[in-house]
Amino acid sequence: MNRSWDSLETFENFLDSGGIVEPVDEMPTEYRQAVFDFIEMHANSELMGGLTERDWIPRAPGLRHKMSVIAKTQDEIGHAHLLYMVAADLQIKTRQEMMRDLFAGKSKFHNVFHYRAKTWGDQVAIAFLVDAAALVSQQAVFKNCSYGPYKRILKRIIAEEGFHLRFGEESVLRIAEGTQIQRSMFQSSINDWWWPALQLFGPDSKPNDLLLRWHIKSERNEVLRDRWIQKFVPLLQGYGFTIPDPDLRWNKEENRWEIGPIDWEPLKRTLAMGGPDSARRISEASESWEKSSWVREALEKVAT
């Protein structure tokens, strides 16, 4: 059944009443574009995240961690694959065009993948803080997402990311119970990754945010960010680590943690591909795509 709507208003009423849009529907152009942009960025982030993960396969401390890192790499690349298929189906850009734009530095991906993971501590901080931040936002999108195929894929992605988080928690526990050298390595990773992870949620949502209005997202950025803060401040402090925020304080009246002002300049720089590791990341991704072209060509030949 191909549904169509005679005006944006009737379409918005449909969304407000909990309607779910399917790929065969004749959705308004603006909505199609907004959904596409959102999914493309998610797909790019999964791909860039998977490549970051891959860097740590040869360096993981021990066989068990190596297995986990390999599996996580496959998960992330697999998620990117699913998401690129859903995005391409919206017929705004082909998969090749999405790849071309990503490697040309024209497409967005999560700010955290514009930084370099220099130590195993950084990798664990990503698995713990960043994966959790991504999970918090994905859960919120899933809860009330109006685009059917994306909602259904998110359900599976969330289940798998939840499994990754177990790995992150286990790794943090190991480091927290480890030697002084391990603990100070992880403290320095927290110092480096705390703010980028927190900035991943973005600045406070604007009142006229179309993603919220069209139920592509279901909760405001600041609400999600705060949910993450309330969870991770006590967790990290419980393990005996320090949060790199001199203004952090416990608000007794409201029973919640309050953080200091957020500097949004670093986030803006990453969005303009000017993050500390943006250029290297993009060229590595592009190189890896080139190097694997023979696999795609071979698979296409087998298929035809």
């Binding site: 790929p23 998960d75 697999g78 599976r156 289940a159």
Partner: protein, 155 residues
């Protein structure tokens, strides 16, 4: 194996049945066909034998840990040993009808029984787009009718 103990194989089976696949919350590893054998001796020591979907599956450690935990919680059990077997090899026929239904309904995941894979949503034909997905036991299909992107569990 004995049935004279107050702790029975059935009690242990019931406990293991509560362990879900870490990537499919709500779907029991028993229904996915991972449980091969349970033994209990007179000293109330339990051996649980499992078979992996794929030998390098990253979830093996977590599944074994979860099983150990629930079986240790069964009254009377003194010790638990969880082993992954190399044979028999896991195939999709080991997945129960109930799990197939739950996978289709809750996760839009199909199970590859033969060449023809139906869309879990609209029951139309699908085309295979790639042999591997987010894990080695899954390929990716696209529905010809509703254009759903589908993960397909396969051997």
């Amino acid at each position: 194996m004995t049935s004279n103990n107050s702790t029975s194989i059935q009690d242990i089976h019931t406990a293991i049945n509560t362990v879900n696949d870490p990537e499919y919350p709500g779907i029991s590893i028993v229904d996915l066909g991972l449980l091969e054998n349970i033994e209990i001796n007179t000293a109330y020591e339990v051996l649980v034998e499992l078979i992996p979907t794929f030998s390098g599956c990253p979830a093996l450690g977590v599944i074994a840990q979860d099983i150990e935990e629930v079986v240790r919680g069964v009254p009377g059990v003194k010790k638990v040993d969880v082993q992954w077997l190399n044979t028999p090899v896991w195939t999709v026929d080991r997945i129960t009808a109930k799990a197939k239904e739950d996978l289709a309904e809750n996760f839009t995941v199909a199970v590859q029984i033969n060449e023809r894979v139906e869309c879990p949503r609209c029951k139309s034909m699908t085309d295979k787009k790639s042999h591997f997905g987010p894990s080695r036991c899954r390929s990716i299909h696209l529905c010809r009718n509703c254009r759903e992107v589908i993960e397909v569990l396969r051997d």
